[in-house]
Symmetry: C2
Subunit: 480 residues, 2 copies
């Protein structure tokens, strides 16, 4: 890297870190030249570069000013979805696999990834807990850790429920290979092949894949980025189709990032209880809130054991450990049995290592830092979308998690954008994989869980150009 | 423990360890009294105790002699099974759960357990490998270890195939949460709900539970403790019912312990290839052979990718780690996809720890010791069954694994024996859980994978009495 590039990068870092704020005046070329021991022309080159990238702006006879938040986030996505109210068979697996496969290379800019950056997690500290736990591992632990799982780990999880004011007994908790297994086991515990299951539209493609895999049909219910699933539609659908279960994410829904209001969660559970429809609650992003307080799960409002709460440590502490759990209410025994006959139990050393980490403390401190980082990254990513994407683009501004849901100008084909971006080693998650009806053709999901850097800046600029040139009406193009 | 009990236990230990062999004369009471610094009456009491337990015998004017192998193993089980040749729906889960649940307490003598003793495994050495691997864990490993799994671990597994003369490329290998997940994924990859799948009769209850869970029907084919599945019956059944797959254990079948001859494995694979029926090969006991050489899997004879080989480290190295794998031939991609949508991937630290252990060497040395121990324990258990069980009892004498299949005298109800034994804190695995037709009503499976001790001796004596008193015609009892 040349000297002026190093300097430009440093200044950009100060801006991204909030040391230099929007409107701040940069030190003059002369003073920077002196303080850094660089030639004036090197400093000039650095400032030109930043100006060219739209990060600073020269004002005549006044010097250079930070111009970052001239980058404005795009308008928000507000409209509810409008899926047809009929059970349909699901056929998303092949498409999802093709897309996921294409985004696995480390050379690809991971906007389409489902995972946050592994650099966000205290892996060294976890490693020490693993080592400590492995050293003290007793032979009979292999038996004691059998499903439902390590008593120590289940106690730690029960304590975290308690800290949120919830009484979940450790005997209700089943440790699983991540939340994905927990969700799949819950689904199997309450639904038989051919049954219909309610999902939101759009929804996590993993839910759709699970339905497809178990021969279940999906009934899609309208949801809104602002408030979540539409309860009147939900009730109508239940009355019409007697679903075997309802699979929802009240906290920071994937892909919309929606946070359902507490009183709405309560109303949701009451509605489902009235109709005796079990709720499979996917709650893996709840710890990643940007507000003051961890949002409660719908399970907090459950009085009859109808909510099967599923979560994990994969998104907030220990990716790759595959430690998740379910607290499946009245279905706990059935879920444990499904686990026993499919994967028997969860890796004992991983259970022991996590229990050790949680007992030692430090988890909450890590979480506070993680939430701050993600909130900051969301701001940067949102503004970059606003800066580089064409007019007509909208995006969510979720209060937690690490996904932006971006609505591209009408007529832009997200699958097409995905393919063109991938050819440039940039991944995006195209909208059509998030519904059984392959809707949301002009939407993409972007992951802001990776640190912003030069590559992200270049990739977002390139993506903006792809989107702009994919809009059906451009200068010289014929309208479709 | 009293002094004479300590002495008796020591002598018993020498006998069990083979230091004192059958027919050996014990040191005289006087010389033992002198060498141990114990009173003559203490030594006498010890000898009486051992005599009362049938382990030594006094010969008039000659002293005491080891009498252990006056314990003879019972006659072997030779007859093939004769299940009906029709697909039937499976309904074993509830019964299996009830039985497994009852055998989980550590206070219960684990004859009915499915697991070998955790004390047989190098858990401390594994712990060091876990610690080392956790210390060197790189953040991006969490991504690199995603399904199909850690390249290092898959390479180590491929090397073990190679050592057996088999070419299995590491790209074919999918790491799973133990063999049970591997088997379930393979089943899902080739069979759809409603399909029929061939199993042996008797077979591992986990296979039956998997069929039940996935809504598949079982077709049971006769098998024989001496040679394994009957190939002509198998071919006839295939022609009649077009099964979606065949789930077998050619090496040390559970529960019979049968080892299929190499040329028969070859013939089996040829037959299945001819009819295009995939073989799900459960090979978890192969490393536990008592002969000279690891028996080859059926996969060794596969030329078209029709064999889905499944195994794990759970029975031979690392119980509780939940590291298994499949090498599913032409179905590798489908199996990996099923894994991605159900449990995503396998615990990264457990994968890393095992790869580290295998790279460091020492596995084969551990296995040699383990095999010796199990072979020795089989001898002791077999002889104890012969000693304590009533005439008419037969038992297998497998060349590997850690199960005895015991055929009780005709008319003895294994479920009844199970219940009465459990009331005395002794578990057995009753025959009816090993077939879809709930057959083998007078059979039990005994686990000899736990060290023989006083409690085993007492438990086996009690079990023998239960069986004897459960025979339908006993003195003073009315024939049923």
């Amino acid at each position: 890297m040349k000297r002026y590039e190093v300097l430009a990068k440093e200044i950009e870092g100060s801006i991204l870190a909030g040391v230099l704020r929007n409107g701040d005046r940069l030190p003059s070329v002369r003073s920077t030249s002196t303080s850094r021991g660089l030639s004036a022309s090197t400093v000039f080159q650095a400032y030109y570069l930043l100006e060219a990238r739209g990060i600073i702006r020269a004002r005549q006879r006044s010097g250079y000013f930070v111009n970052w938040s001239s980058r404005k986030a795009p308008p928000t996505v507000d409209a509810p979805s409008q899926p047809a109210n009929t059970p349909i068979s699901v056929d998303v697996c092949a498409r999802v696999f093709a897309i996921l496969e294409s985004t696995r290379s480390r050379n690809v800019v991971p906007f389409g990834s489902a995972f946050p950056s592994p650099l966000l997690f205290p892996l060294a500290r976890l490693g020490r807990s693993m080592a400590q736990s492995a050293k003290n591992f007793e032979p009979w632990d292999t038996v004691d850790y059998l499903t439902p799982g390590s008593p120590d780990l289940r106690r730690q999880i029960a304590l975290r429920y308690l800290a949120d004011g919830m009484q979940v007994h450790m005997d209700e908790i089943v440790i699983t290979n991540g939340a994905l297994e927990a969700l799949n086991l819950c689904l199997q515990a309450v639904a038989r092949p051919g049954d219909a299951v309610i999902v939101e539209c759009p929804t996590f493609y993993g839910a759709l894949q699970a339905l497809e895999n178990h021969g279940l049909r999906a009934i899609q219910v309208p949801t809104c980025p602002k408030g979540g699933i539409d309860l009147p539609s939900l009730e109508k659908t239940i009355q019409l189709h007697q679903p075997a279960a309802c699979w929802l994410m009240p906290n920071f829904q994937n892909p919309l990032g929606t946070l359902m209001a507490e009183d709405k969660k309560k109303a949701l559970v009451e509605l489902l209880t009235r109709h005796d429809v079990p709720l499979i609650e996917d709650d893996v992003y709840a710890e990643l809130y940007f507000g003051d307080k961890r949002p409660l799960p719908a399970k907090a409002y459950d009085t009859t054991g109808i909510v099967m709460h599923c979560s994990s440590f994969s998104k907030c502490l220990a990716p790759g450990y595959r430690i998740g759990w379910s607290a499946p209410g009245r279905y706990a025994r059935r879920v444990a049995q499904k686990k026993l006959i499919t994967t028997l139990t969860t890796s004992a050393p991983a259970q022991g290592g996590l229990a050790n980490y949680l007992e030692q403390g430090g988890y909450d401190k890590h979480l506070r830092k993680l939430r701050q980082t993600l909130a900051e990254q969301q701001r940067i990513f949102s503004q970059a979308v606003g800066h580089y994407f064409p007019a007509g683009t909208r995006a969510t501004r979720p209060e937690g998690g690490y996904f932006l849901w971006v609505e591209l100008p009408e007529g832009v084909d997200a699958m097409h954008v995905h393919e063109r971006a991938l050819a440039m080693d940039i991944s995006v998650a195209p909208g059509p994989i998030f519904s059984a009806s392959h809707a949301f053709k002009n939407c993409i999901r972007l992951n802001f869980g990776h640190a912003w850097n030069d590559a992200s800046e270049r990739a977002m600029a390139a993506l903006g150009k792809i989107v702009a040139s994919s809009a059906p009406i451009t200068v010289g193009a014929v309208a479709r």
